[in-house]
């Protein structure tokens, strides 16, 4: 950390020498405790380099997006906006509403340290348009160590057969096997985890990135749907409608064995004073050895103001700084997009994830490759299927496939 200070000071001098008004109005919806603390890392670094941060935070992604789109259409966009690095930004790029940050990106990031799939996702027509803050992985399994001990499970199950055997043991011990958040968006995340573990990386990318629907007709996909359906036998009656954090609380209180969800739930464990690897364990969804990643990024609307363009470049540079990347992700519970950073501050779960990113064992989440409308259709189908055990695999697959028609 000390070593970086001279560098920071140098940059500070450079930016102040420009004598520009580097005010950036930044739209984001990172307002909860841990998220806000993570944003502060960026704000401090941005301010230290001569920028002036004006916060335009709106709680909740949906309301934030609605307010942002209205301002964009009215020709008065903020300087930067956080978004999932995917169609919600690329559609605006296609409309010619966004600035690229290609120069700033390449100045800040040496070639080869950002995974190629992520680089592809933020590049349009050969130019980088987004500055990713970090990635979240959706196919995690968090488990309560005391519950596993009590049920006599030695280690985290590695295959689905082992998983169901372990869940049976937890059931026999009189506890709830899976802490299930019965809302379709959570079920959608779990379903994609099951799909990746069953059909493999190549087929997953073929389906969700290249939109090759033939993958859905393979027996492996059917197998994934069946495995997912089997999870119904291991949830408690209170699961429908349950919030993700209420489900996490069940694992924290050692009332339930596992929760399958994204790594953002780690914040809930740390708030409760639990330590990864000691009180709770983490492992990928059984049968998988890759991460399903979802990158968050800053995107930069065209403002028609040269000062704001400079502020955008500075913000991109700050966000991509290795030190900021590491500090931000440690607090937010995400994984940095750069592979050349100091990983000592991360917990065991993040260490494992960083290892996978370095080994290029990552696939892109459907939210990064397909429109929100298609992803919404997925959630509808998955939610309906999980709630209704009498729904046949065929009719689920038909409905799931129909989601792709949402464009």
């Amino acid at each position: 950390m000390r070593l970086l200070l001279p560098g920071l000071t140098a940059l500070l001098l450079v930016s102040t020498a420009q004598a520009q008004d580097l005010t950036a109005e930044v739209a984001h919806s990172w307002t909860s405790g841990g998220e806000a603390a993570a944003v502060k890392v960026i704000v401090d670094a941005f301010t230290a380099r001569g920028g002036k941060w004006v916060d335009w935070s709106v709680a909740g992604f949906e309301s934030a997006n609605a307010a942002y789109i209205s301002r964009l259409l009215a020709g008065d966009p903020p300087t930067a906006k956080t978004a999932v690095a995917g169609p919600e930004v690329t559609e605006l790029i296609a409309q010619g509403l966004m600035n690229d940050v290609d120069a700033a990106f390449h100045a800040a990031v040496p070639a080869g340290v950002v995974p190629q799939v992520v680089l592809n996702a933020i590049t349009v027509d050969g130019k980088v348009y987004m500055a990713p803050t970090g990635m979240h992985a959706g196919n995690w399994m968090f488990y309560s160590k005391p519950v596993f001990e009590k049920a006599g499970i030695a280690e985290a199950p590695k295959t689905w057969d082992e998983f169901f055997a372990a869940m049976d043991k937890i059931k026999a011990a009189g506890l709830t096997p899976i802490a299930w958040g019965g809302q379709s968006w959570q079920e959608g995340i779990v379903f994609h985890g099951v799909v990746l573990s069953t059909i493999g990386d190549a087929a997953f990318t073929k389906l969700y990135t290249d939109k090759d629907l033939s993958v859905i007709d393979t027996p492996e996909f059917t197998k994934a749907v069946e495995t997912f359906g089997k999870l119904r036998d291991y949830v408690d009656p209170g699961a429908p409608g349950r919030n993700w954090n209420d489900a996490t609380a069940m694992v924290i209180k050692d009332e339930a064995g596992v929760q399958l969800l994204s790594d953002f739930i780690k914040g809930e464990f740390s708030t409760a004073g639990e330590v990864a690897g000691t009180d709770y364990g983490c492992a990928l969804v059984p049968g998988s050895d890759s991460l399903i990643t979802l990158a968050d990024a800053f995107s930069f609307p065209k403002t028609g103001n040269a000062d704001e363009d400079a502020a955008q470049a500075l913000l991109a540079e700050v966000v991509l700084d290795p030190k900021v990347q590491a500090e931000f992700s440690v607090i937010k519970g995400s994984v940095p997009i750069r592979t050349d950073i100091d990983t000592s501050g991360f917990d065991v779960c993040a260490q494992e994830a960083i290892g996978l990113v370095k080994a290029d064992k990552i696939v892109l989440d459907a939210a990064m490759t397909l429109s929100p409308a298609i992803n919404g259709g997925f959630k509808d189908a998955v939610g309906a299927y999980f709630a209704d055990p009498s729904m046949s695999v065929e009719s689920f697959i038909e409905q799931y496939k129909a989601a792709f028609a949402n464009g």
Partner: protein
Amino acid sequence: MVDQPAARIPASSPARTRATGRLRLPVAALAALTPAWLIILLVYLGTTIWTVQLSLTNSRMLPSSEFVGLAQYERLFGTARWTISIQNLLTFGVVYVVGALVVGFLLAVAVDRHVRFESMWRTVFLYPYALSFIVTGLMWQWLMNPEIGIQATMRAAGWTWFTFDWTTKSSMAIYAVALAGIWQSAGLVMVLMLAGLRGIDADLWRATRIEGIPLWRTYISIVLPQLGPSIATAFMLLTMGAVRTFDLVVALTNGGPGQSTEVPAKFIMDSLFARQDLGLATAGATVMLATVMAVTIPILYARDIWARRRAGTI
């Protein structure tokens, strides 16, 4: 009342009489009403027209002007969730409207029997209406949660056979939403009915007593038919509320389990904001507008006829 000053202006000023001719426009009144009319025309009508227009384009995240005919409507009715939402709305609408009318009427009759502490009861029954649907939804979500709500309480008290888990059962969840809705709206119906009941001629009551007609028969055959306008008003308010139902579902079940409590308004909001699918959302909104108009216009027309018949103009 408003006509008077306007009518006097031309008389007192010959120049103006010539200028405005024989039209005798109520200038002051019109001037006063202009802002209101502008708001109605621009804000309400304008956005309505814009919504309908957007539903005929291929708009996604941003409004587009590329006309695609009825393609969005085709897509809408080809979406499983929309058709399920409509079925749910029908079930919910019938149970909610009939339920609120019946409960509201019974409450009104009970209060109308000159019970003690009448005004207290009136306040108690009307009170839920003062709550927002979000509060009602959240409260009933807790009450109906099988692990912390009524079921858990009853079982803890020894009635282990007791089951009340509607919100977690796909087949019953929509009735759970209707129950919460009735709890909230019955008070409003009661007040409307009570006003109608108080308008009934006291002689009528005396006559039925002398004739020895049983009380229930009096209410069903004599009182109820006279409550026509009150019932129509309550029916219209409830139906419009039912079609718009959004916050209650969001707070109570969020559309689940599965899609068993999804409603059209929620579909529209989701498409509009979370799914950035403007075209589909506006198509759904247009269908809902048409539905509301199909229900309210005949009722408003019928009420107009009633009123005129009473006034003796027909």
